[in-house]
Structure formats: C-alpha cells, structure tokens
Amino acid sequence: MMVSIYNRPSMFFDLTKCIACRACQVACKRWNKRLAEETSLNSDPTTQWTNPPTLSSNTWRLVKYKLKYDEVNDEVTWTFIPYSCMHCNDPPCVGVCPTKAVFKRDDGIVHIHSERCIGCGYCIEACPYKVRFFADDEYFGIKSIYKCTYCLDRLDAGLSETACVQACPTEALEFGEYTEMHEKARQRAKAVGGYIYGDESPLAGGSDIGTSSVYVSNVPFEELGFPTEEQRISAPFVMERILLERGGLAIFGLGVLSFLGFALWRRERIGKAKMRELSKEE
C-alpha cells in the first residue's frame, strides 16, 4: 500500500529543542478527550519521571524521559522523546487487519474504522512502535483500537496543525507537508551533527519503512529505544510471523468469518452515530 503523494501531513520532532514540559501530552488529552490515568511515582533510574509509563488507549502522546550518565566525565544526557503513532509510509498494522478496519488515508494518516474492529490484536502485534491499544472507550463509546489520529478532525476542518504541535512552547514539534518537514529534519540533523529517524527512502522488496513523523536527536535512536530497521519489518513479513506464531487462532478466525460479517454489519450501525468526526473516509 505505497503512498506516493508526499505533500501529506507530517510531524517533525526536534529532540534537541524539547524541554519535556509535556504540554503536548496534556493538549492531546484535552483535544481528544482522553481521561487521566491513575499513576504512581516513576523512580526508575533511566526512565524516571516518564508518566504514565507507556502509551495507552487514554494516552496517545507520551513524553518519554531517557537518562544516561557518563561517570568518567560527569556528564548527564537526559533526552526527552515525545512519542506516538508514527503514521508509517507502509504501515504493518494495515496489512494484518483481517477486517480491513485499519487503513491508511490518502493523506497518509493511519486510522481505524472503529465499528469494524474486532479486537483481534493483530495490529497491536504488528506495530513496531507499540502505539496501539484496544479499549472500551468512554468518550467514543465503542470497543476499538485507539491511538494518535494526527488530530484528523482538526485537519479535516481546515485547522493547520494538531493540538500537540500547537501547544509546543519551543517548536520542538512542527507540523507541515511531508517533504518540507523531512527536508527540515535533514537540515537540522546536519546542523547539530545529530541523527535522523523515519526519513528512509523506499527499500528493496516494496517496503518503505519511512514514516510521516520524523525525528532528529543528538543521541543515536537505538539508545532511545526506537525499533531498528529489522524490527520495522513490512506487512507481508508480519503477517507471516503472526500466522506462524498464532496460526491456530488465525485458522479459527477464518472459520467464523461468516459470523463476523453479521457482527460487523451490526457494529457499523451502532457505531456510525458516534463516529461523526472520524467518518470522513466512509
């Protein structure tokens, strides 16, 4: 599912500018009506202060803290990583979805028809960034996978940026067209002598592991816990792995497809009314 139009929405995360004020994390909750989670003190030596500890169906954007200490030179490296769905160019989650609930819009935003989601969890498994969570959501009133939507309701209404980008005090987050953001990221990486992530050009075999979101950092991305190239495998390979690991379940799934057809039809009817701003693709 290659998308060749490169003027689609894109986000540039400049970690060299992020001060971890977490405005983006709160602004995301505010705009997307996400509930606060019950958390406890995060005192872990390397991830301390990150809270909630991971993304979830109620936390679509998370600022991760990563602490490293060089004892010899008494040098602290504390990196802040605003993290959420990368909106892959060739998203593994789309290919594995048995009900075609997960899809990629023409503008590159990876989204979900919640009323079609059966909660099989294949996309959760397939996602190399671990941004997808299944939940019975209080606000949307439907059991589905939830994650960052690039604020597609805002974009579709003609607003120029997402809630998180609007909030960012230091312009560590920027929003714009794919080519522009990626070019900016390359320039910035060069200027600070740093690293870039998500800007890969299409690889052999039809997989494009580049992402709509692009990151620049002073610290190598493998040290920040970003998946390696091998981990960002393309859809067919993911499907293959899932079939191998969970083959029995998948075959059982094929057996009940007729029932699913009925269930989906019913869910669609219930869900439609509640999915006003998510239904542009219908």
Partner: protein
C-alpha cells in the same frame, strides 16, 4: 509525625458539590461556531495569552492565543489542562462556615453552607471585636494636642494575598487594609522576590525584571541560575530562538534539571553559595579587564569616590568605588569559589570566560528562587546587578538582570503593594509623626489649596527647605505625591489640622503609620495570638510558608477567613470559607513578569455562588463600614472635635469613578482608571486637586482616553501586534500591545529606546548628606541598602557592597566561621523571634546534608491549582526527594524506597519516597564531600494528590533586609526506613 502519601483519582470530598464534568461540548462544529474570548494564563507570570472558546455560556475549548506575541498559540502543560480546572467538581461553590471548633490536620472542619451575607456579618463582627481596644488617639507631650492615627503594625487584623488576583482586586485589598488601619498585609511576593526588590531597587531604581519575556531572543549568552524550562516554559521559547541564532547557555543549579539539558555549560553548585559565585565573576571581569569602561564612566557611580567626586584615574585610584569593589572581589578567586560552591576551578574559568567574553554581549542573567530565598539573598542579587553593570549589559535589549516571577499577577500584586512596608507604587506609608508634619508643609506649597496642588513643581517642593538633608529631600519628593494622590483617590485625610501650623497642630492621618510585620514575623505574632483575625485570599501558607507546622499551629489559633477556589490545606483551618472564581470568570488587568499590563476578559459566569473578587472585596468593605462601624482617624477626630477634614471614603469606594455606597454600578475598569489615570478629571472630586492623578505612580498613563479611544483609554486592552517603529520590529518590544510600566518602556534604563518612559537609573546619592549626583548612576556602591558610614569593614550592614555569607545552617563548620551568617543581630524584627519563638537551628554534625526545594513544570506553587487537576496529577502523582546514587548507597536505599527526612524544625522526621538519580552528584565543599538532596514543594494533605509538604522541613530565618525566608538551603538528615 509520619505522612504516607495517599492517592486516589476521582475521590471527592463530601462537601464539594459538583457542577458537571469535562469533557462537555466536544464536537468540532461547536468549536468552529463558538465565540472566542481573550484571556491571560493564571499560572506563571509569563503572561501568555489564552483563547477561550464558548458556546451558549459554556467553555468548549481553551488553547494558546494564536494572536498573542508572547506565546503565539502555544501553552505549557499547566494551562493546557485549563478546562479540568475550571470545570473541576472539586471547586468550592458556596460560602461555608466551620462547625468543628477544633482545628488540625486530622480535624474535619464540618462545613455548613451559609449565605454571603452571613459570612460578611460574621467577619465584620470579628473585626469589630478585635479592634475594640486599638488606640487611634494619643496626646502629644510637646504640642499638648491629640494626634489621631493608627499604628500600622498594632492592628489585630491581618490580610494575605493574592498574586492570583487582578490588579484592581489587589489594589482594593491594599486600600481596604489601609482604611481599617492595618499594615499587617503581606502576600506571595514576600516569599518570592522581596530580595529582588531590595537588591535591584538599590542598584538600578526598580526592583523588577529589567527586560521582558520576548527580549531573550536578543541575547548572546545566558547565565541561567534558575530553571525556566520547567518554571517558565514559554520563556524558553525565546531562549530557544536566541540559541538558534548562536547564543550560548550557561546553567548553574544544584541538580541537573530540564533546563540543564539545553545548556552549553552546566555546573552543579551548593545552594546558598550564589553570592560567592557572582563575586568570583566580578573578580574575573575586573582582573581580566572585561568591564565596559565607557558604560562605567557614563552610567554608574564606579568612577566616583564616596563623596561624589569623579576621579579620572578611577581604575587605579584606591578611593574610587571601582577600586573598593576590586578590593572586596579579590578574595573570591576561582579556588575560593570552588571551596564555597563546589564548582571546579577549570569549569568556573570556562563559565567566567564565556559570560564575560566581549563577543558575547549582551548577556542575560535569569534567576529565581534559588537565588532569592536565602538569608543573604539581597547580597547575591546586588552582586548579579553589579556584574551586569560592569559588563555594560544593562539598559540594552538582550541584557539585564531578569527576575523570573512565579505567579500570573505577582508583579501586579507587588506593584499594588500588598506588602507591610509599602502603600502603593513602592511608596512607603508615613513612618513617624515628623514625616506627617513635613508632608503637611509640602501640601502647603500651594496655600490656596491646602489639600494639595496640581502644579508639577509641587513634586519638588521639598528642595526649597534647607533644613532637610539631600537624602530627606529625595525621600519626600518620592513619597509625598503618592500620599496626596491617595488622599484624593481614597477620600481620606493625611496631615495636620487645619494645616496652618504643621509643627504644632493635631496630626490627623488616615494612612496607617509605620510598617507592619513581614510574613514570617507576622505568623509568629498570629501564633502568639497578638493578631486575632487573618483574611487569607488565594494563598496557601499552610503549604507555602517555611516551618509550616508552626504556621499550621498559628492558623489554628486565629479567626481565619479563606477565599479560594479549592479546599486547600489553609482552608482546612478556616472558620469561614468563601468561594472565589477562576480568572476566565471575571475581567481585569494583570501584569506579567516583564511588566506588561494586559487585560483578560470574562468568558463565562462563575458557577454556584462563586463571587468575582472585585465584588467580594467591595461588599466586604461595605459590611465592615456598616456593621462593624470601623472609622477613619479623621472621622474620630470629627466626632471628638467637630472639625471636618473633608474625608469621604464612601464617595471613593471602590473608586471615585463609581461609588457602591452611592448605589453606582461599578466595574474593574472604574478601578483601573483610578490606578493609572493620566490627568485629573475635575468632575470626579470637586474641590480637590492633586499633582499625581494616578494612585499608583508607576502605572500612570495606563489610562489615557485621548491616546486610544478604541479601548476607551484602557491601554491594557490594546491588542495590536504591529510594531510601532523599526526599532520595535527589530527588538520585539510590541509597544502597541497592552501597556508596560513605566510609561510603556519595554526595556528599563534603555537610553536608546525611542518613545521611552524612564530610561535612567535613579538610585544614587553620595556618602555625605549634601551631595546629590543626579539620576542615571547605576549603583556599584549603594547607600540605600546598607548604611555605608564605615565602608571598609566587613560588616554586611555597614557595607555598600555585597559579600558572601553562609546560610544560617551551613554544612561546613569552617566556612561557617569564615563567612558568618547574616542572621542574628542584623535583623530588624529579631525581637519577634526572641520574644515569641526563635528559629530552630540544626548543626552539621547532626544534620549533615543540604536540603533544597524546587518546582516542576507540571505543578504550581502550593499545588491547589494543579494537584486538583487529573491530567496534571497523572504526570507527577506523588511527592519525592531526589538524591545521588552515592548518598543512596551510603544510607542503603534504592530508588522508589521510602526514606525518613529530618531537620531541626522536624526532628522526628517525615517519610517520603526517594528518586535516586545521576542528575545529582556529591559536591566537594572546603575539601569535604557534601551531599545535597532536593524536594519539590508543591504537596500538602488536601487535594486529589496529597503528600508531604517540603516546607515542614525548611528554615524560617529570613534575609535581613528583605525578610524573605531561607527556603533554599537548610541542613537535613536522611535515614533508611
């Protein structure tokens, strides 16, 4: 007492009725259809614009105001969660009274809903009871006449807060306390930047941030001894812009924090050694001739001798102030700085070289509580200010000594002087009878008009009296016009009566005479039951005061009125609890840290019976006058003698523009006009004139109906981001946006700023009392701060220049002797401690570690405004103490364990979870390893997230000139539980 942190999301105290919940109207169609209302953020003093979208009287969305020059639509995490604050189901909605006579942390108040009328009546009768025996009349032994006035500190009625209030509300709060004869009024500002007012005021003239938020973009180097990335995130937007243009950041902090991650040079130092570091930088600047010679000659007193004679050979002449500074600073070699602060010599040289580098001008110093909250804080701030004078970094865009202020309107509340020693616009109240008699002579400048004069020459009338010293002339010229303005604007009388013979007549003075008690001393007076009533508004001393257990005891002993939006720890001790409003529920002006006076418009009606603060103060005063019969001294004088001085306070409340006693409708605009009027309105107070129409002199001309009719002269309402001229465009002044004191000047003391208001320093006079050098001399040597009669002795109070002094609790016994603390005999209010309760002091053998406190981006001050907001509680749900891995392994704890923290104030200790972090490392101080631990101070025992208040451990000794507590350095012991 051991406190275990408890935490439960969604737990609602019984008394808190619910107004509904967020999210409310949530469709994007509604957002697009809704009306937008501009407001200003209520958290830090950055002054960011908040755009509120409403539909059918409800808020749909709050976001950064895209039109606002400071934040252009951005916001940090705290205001990003605004809707959860406004629509919190934990808000207080009705006036309530306490039914449980016992007070304490474990005593439920037993709230019962009452009416506003009942609340006002109860408060009024308590004030009446307390004031019954307060003397207002004394017989003068010399003149034989009766003098009528209240002594400000003897009032049993005290008032706190608030920096969260709008200017108009703060102004009325100060007016109310003055009209009931009390100078026992204090608020948050005493605890945050009181030492700034002393340190910068005595060096430059004003005790305020010299530049403004956006101005950071013009800097080439930053010396950041604070944590703006966390405490003032939007300031970091402009720091980031400067960095993209090549600026360097030097960051000094006891702990590596979120700001440090962006620093080119970071150094850890021991809390309390700031003055030594700055003196070391001063030495480096002088020794390496990095000072700006031209600037020193033209704009400072450095080339003069102490008698005010210019010395052409000032660089070498030992009599010059410059040479005396050099002699003082010479002791602070990099080795000495290392010994005191723990910053390695090599690193210090790098810091000094970078900051003083000629290519790195202008350089900018950002500082906050880490510097201001010490017993020697005024000295450290003076040293910063002197360093910037030496480098010529003053009065230029991108330079300055920039005090980052913590609460949205703390600059405004300070300007309105809700402070015990000031009355309005940094003008002091009359301090004694002589001053009142001399004031009457000044008023007699215009014999036809003994109530004052409108002749501009009247301001300098004191210059004609040869019996006054130069110092007295300056002092009176500064203060008398404001007293006169307050007579005019407040409808009261100050002087002698009838005013013909000021030396021998009765004094009739409606302004309370002499200073009140500064906040720490005030709480000792409350604890001792000398003060009977405390009205506490939008302030949480039970969490924010040092040695908080003593303060909580004091709160249990006083008749306490609390006006708040949440049930805070202080409210827990209240007798009457009144529901306040969130800023979007009322209109008014506020002043940000960069002195911009901006308007915020009301967006929605307050819920329940919550009352806008302007109405609350107005109605409270009405009730105090009507029910309690509190009278002005001039009214007592009239009752006793039949002489009518003409005082008519009812005509001027809340404002001469609208009197509630005469049944006029009133708005915040009416009060705003009184504060900043440019010219006299003859219809306002017929028969009266004054040379200073603005009640607050530094806000003058902020109301100018001729300048901008589109906002009816309320210049704070201006929202035009277009630059005034090319200079404005270059430096980002935004002179058409709102208004800035003084006279719309955006960078203080900037002689090159076109359309400028006050561009000179105005601080300095010579040692002898007859020589006046005029304005525009930044004070490298200062007379105002210290008595300089013995300038060469190392006595901090008889010295015109700063020195390092150890904190009261020093971790090193040798340093303690070499650099003795200033606490003790130097402190004016020391007898309050001696007589009532001395400071509990620990020594380094029992308490070996240094404890400091800090703030987090996600929480606000004493916490009520964030610990009740689920989205923010999620980010930092619990209190903690941070320590180095070395210390953790010494005491045998791991990250996340509970430890027991003990100080001399709290010898039994309290439990708190620890975060063991590489961001803190041991320091070598005077050859010994010293551990520092650090704790955020936002927590308390009420709210959605509760936890140990750091301030039950901190020190309640204060800076000897500014009375600001030494929060930031005390000694502690950490034990494994």
């Amino acid at each position: 007492m051991a406190t275990i942190t408890t935490f439960a999301l969604g737990e609602i105290p019984e008394v808190m009725a619910t107004t509904g919940e967020y999210p409310r109207l949530d469709r994007i169609e509604n957002y697009l259809e809704g009306q937008t209302v501009p407001s200003i953020c209520l958290y830090c003093a950055g002054g960011c614009g908040v755009r509120v979208t409403t539909l059918n009287g409800e808020i749909i969305e709050t976001e950064g105001d895209p039109d606002h020059p400071i934040n252009s639509g951005r916001l940090c995490s705290k205001p990003s969660a605004y809707p959860q604050l406004i629509y919190s189901e934990r808000r207080i909605l009705y006036p309530m009274k306490r039914t449980n006579p016992n007070k304490g942390e474990n005593e439920d108040p037993g709230w019962v809903q009452i009416t506003w009328d009942e609340a006002y009546s109860t408060i009024a009768s308590k004030i009446q009871e307390a004031m019954e025996n307060v003397p207002y009349k004394r017989t003068n032994t010399t003149t034989g006449e009766d003098d009528y006035y209240y002594v400000g500190k003897d009032s049993p009625v005290s008032w706190l807060g608030s920096s969260y209030w709008n200017n108009e509300e703060c102004y009325l709060g100060r007016k109310l306390t003055a009209l009931i004869g009390s100078n026992n009024i204090e608020h948050q500002a005493r605890k945050c930047h009181a030492s700034t007012v002393v340190g910068l005021g005595s060096t430059f003239g004003f005790g305020a941030m010299t530049n403004h938020i956006i101005d950071a973009k013009n800097s080439k180097v930053f010396l950041i001894v604070s944590n703006p990335a966390e405490s003032h995130s939007m300031e970091f937007r402009w720091v980031t812009e400067a960095v993209l243009n090549g600026a360097k950041i030097i960051n000094l902090d006891p702990r590596f924090n979120r700001t440090s991650t962006k620093a080119d040079i970071f150094a850890r130092y021991r809390s309390g050694s700031e003055a030594a570091i700055y003196l070391g930088l001063i030495r480096y600047t002088i020794i390496n001739a990095r000072y700006d010679k031209n600037f020193l000659e033209t704009r400072t007193n450095a080339p003069y001798d102490l008698d005010g004679n210019f010395l052409s050979d000032w660089e070498t002449n030992p009599d010059s102030i410059f040479s005396k500074l050099k002699a003082i600073a010479e002791d602070y070699t990099p080795e000495e700085v290392y010994k005191i602060s723990g910053i390695a010599v090599e690193k210090f040289d790098l810091i000094a070289d970078t900051f003083t580098d000629l290519n790195n001008r202008p350089g900018n110093i950002y500082y906050a509580m880490g510097t201001t909250q010490h017993t020697n804080a005024s000295q450290a701030i003076r040293a910063q200010a002197i360093l910037q004078l030496l480098l010529g970094n003053m009065g230029v865009p991108g330079g300055g000594v920039n005090a980052l202020r913590g609460i949205s309107n703390v600059q405004g509340s300070t300007d309105m002087n809700m402070l015990m020693h000031l009355i309005m616009g940094y003008r002091a109240p009359p301090r004694n009878e002589t001053e009142i008699r001399r004031y009457q002579k000044w008023k007699n400048y215009d014999p036809a008009n003994r109530g004052g004069s409108s002749d501009p020459a009247a301001v300098k009338a004191n210059d004609n009296d040869p019996s006054y010293t130069v110092w007295e002339q300056r002092y009176y010229n500064r203060h008398f016009p404001t007293w006169n303005s307050l007579e005019y604007n407040w409808g009261m009388y100050v002087g002698t009566w009838p005013g013909i013979d000021p030396d021998n007549e009765s004094i009739v003075c409606d302004l309370p005479v002499d200073y009140g008690y500064p906040i720490v001393a005030l709480f000792r007076k409350i604890w001792n039951e000398d003060i009977k009533v405390l009205i506490c508004n939008g302030e949480n001393p039970a969490v924010s005061m040092p040695n908080a257990e003593l303060v909580r005891d004091a709160l249990s002993k006083v008749f306490l009125v609390v006006e708040e939006i949440f049930e805070t720890e202080t409210a827990w001790f209240a007798d009457i609890l009144l529901p306040g409003t969130v800023q979007v529920e009322r209109s008014g002006s506020i002043t940000n840290t960069g002195r911009w006076i901006q308007w915020r418009w009301k967006a929605i009606d307050p819920p329940g019976e919550c009352k806008p603060e302007l109405e609350y103060v107005t109605e409270l005063y009405q009730k105090i006058r009507e029910d309690a019969g509190v009278k002005l001294p001039s009214e007592r004088y009239k009752d006793d003698t039949g002489h009518d001085t003409g005082s008519r306070p009812e005509d001027c409340w809340p404002s001469p523009y609208a009197s509630v006693f005469n049944g006029d409708p009133y708005t915040a605009e009416d009060v705003y006009k009184e504060i900043g009027a440019k010219s006299l309105d003859p219809s306002l107070r017929p028969g009266y004139v004054t040379v200073q129409p603005a009640a607050n002199v530094i806000y003058k001309n902020s109301y100018d109906p001729e300048l901008d009719p589109s906002v009816e002269g309320i210049l704070a309402k201006r929202r035009d981001p277009t630059p005034l001229d090319s200079e404005d465009a270059q430096y980002g002044y935004f002179k058409n946006w709102a208004f800035s004191w003084m006279l719309n000047q955006r960078v203080l003391y900037n002689i090159n700023e076109s359309h400028s208001g006050v561009n000179y320093f105005f601080t300095w006079w010579a040692l002898n009392d007859t020589t006046w050098l005029g304005f525009d001399k930044g004070a490298v040597w200062s007379r105002l701060l210290f008595n300089a009669s013995i300038p060469d002795v190392k006595n901090p109070l008889s010295h015109g220049m700063p020195l390092h002094n150890e904190p009261l609790e020093s971790p090193d016994s040798e340093l303690e002797i070499e650099y003795p603390t200033m606490w003790g005999s130097y402190y004016t209010y020391y007898n309050v401690y001696e007589d009532i309760k001395p400071v509990e002091i620990g020594d380094s053998s029992t308490y070996p570690y240094v404890l400091t406190t800090f703030r987090l981006a996600e929480h606000m001050q004493a916490g009520a405004l964030t610990r009740n907001v689920p989205w923010l509680v999620e980010l930092f749900p619990e209190v903690f103490v941070e320590m180095s891995p070395t210390l953790a392994s010494e005491i045998g704890v791991s990250s996340g364990d509970y430890v027991l923290l003990k100080t001399a104030r709290n010898p039994d200790g309290d439990m708190v979870k620890c975060v063991v972090t590489d961001r803190i490392q041991p320091l070598i101080i005077n050859g010994k390893t010293i551990h520092e631990v650090a704790m955020p101070w936002h927590w308390g025992f009420r709210g959605l997230s509760t936890g140990l208040s750091a301030n039950v451990l901190t020190m309640d000794a204060v800076d000897v000139s500014a009375h600001i507590p030494e929060y930031k350095a005390c000694l502690c012991k950490v034990e494994k539980v």
